[in-house]
Symmetry: C2
Subunit: 106 residues, 2 copies
């Protein structure tokens, strides 16, 4: 039985991934290093919002940045999220198939 503290840490990490905006940013950064202007254009979010979300992703260790003068270039770090999504995708697919069988049986 995990300690409450550990459960708290887990939940905080999953909370990071519980927002489509952040997943969207992560996916863009998976394509390669990107500057903020590009992220603004790609997502339609305000600059301040993107800055905050990147900050959260950075504190979670999912993203890193290199400064190019005034500009900041961001990139995804590690494959953890890909692996997590892959596992989840399997479950989602599996559940849809089960629902489909229900319909066929009826």
């Amino acid at each position: 039985m995990p300690s409450p503290q550990l459960l708290e840490e887990y939940s905080q990490f999953f909370r990071i991934l519980s927002e489509p905006a952040r997943l969207q940013l992560l996916c863009h950064l998976k394509q390669g290093p990107t500057d903020v202007a590009t992220l603004i254009e790609a997502t339609g979010f305000s600059q301040s919002h993107i800055s905050r979300q990147l900050g959260q992703l950075q504190r979670a260790g999912l993203v890193r940045c290199d400064r190019d003068g005034a500009r900041t270039i961001w990139q995804a770090e590690g494959d953890l999220v890909d692996e997590l999504c892959h596992l989840v995708q399997g479950r989602l697919r599996q559940r849809l198939e089960a629902q489909l069988q229900q319909f066929k049986a009826a």
Copy 2:
């Protein structure tokens, strides 16, 4: 690049795991089938709250229930969450070790 709909699904799933209360319930149910009265005593939450959280976990396919008359017996379903937590735990540990190295270097 995943579709916005898929990202939405992912985020909704991760949101389920973003609450310590739900992780706590899941962990208890991992120990084996349990009735609600036991969960109330173990967690200290109200009956209504536990009922709702179990409902969410059920809709996500993480939990199933068998009725025993008026009583309901719940149990965890599948190992997905364990696998996800295992991956996350690796990352958390890895980051703490990195921080530790920072201190040692200083």
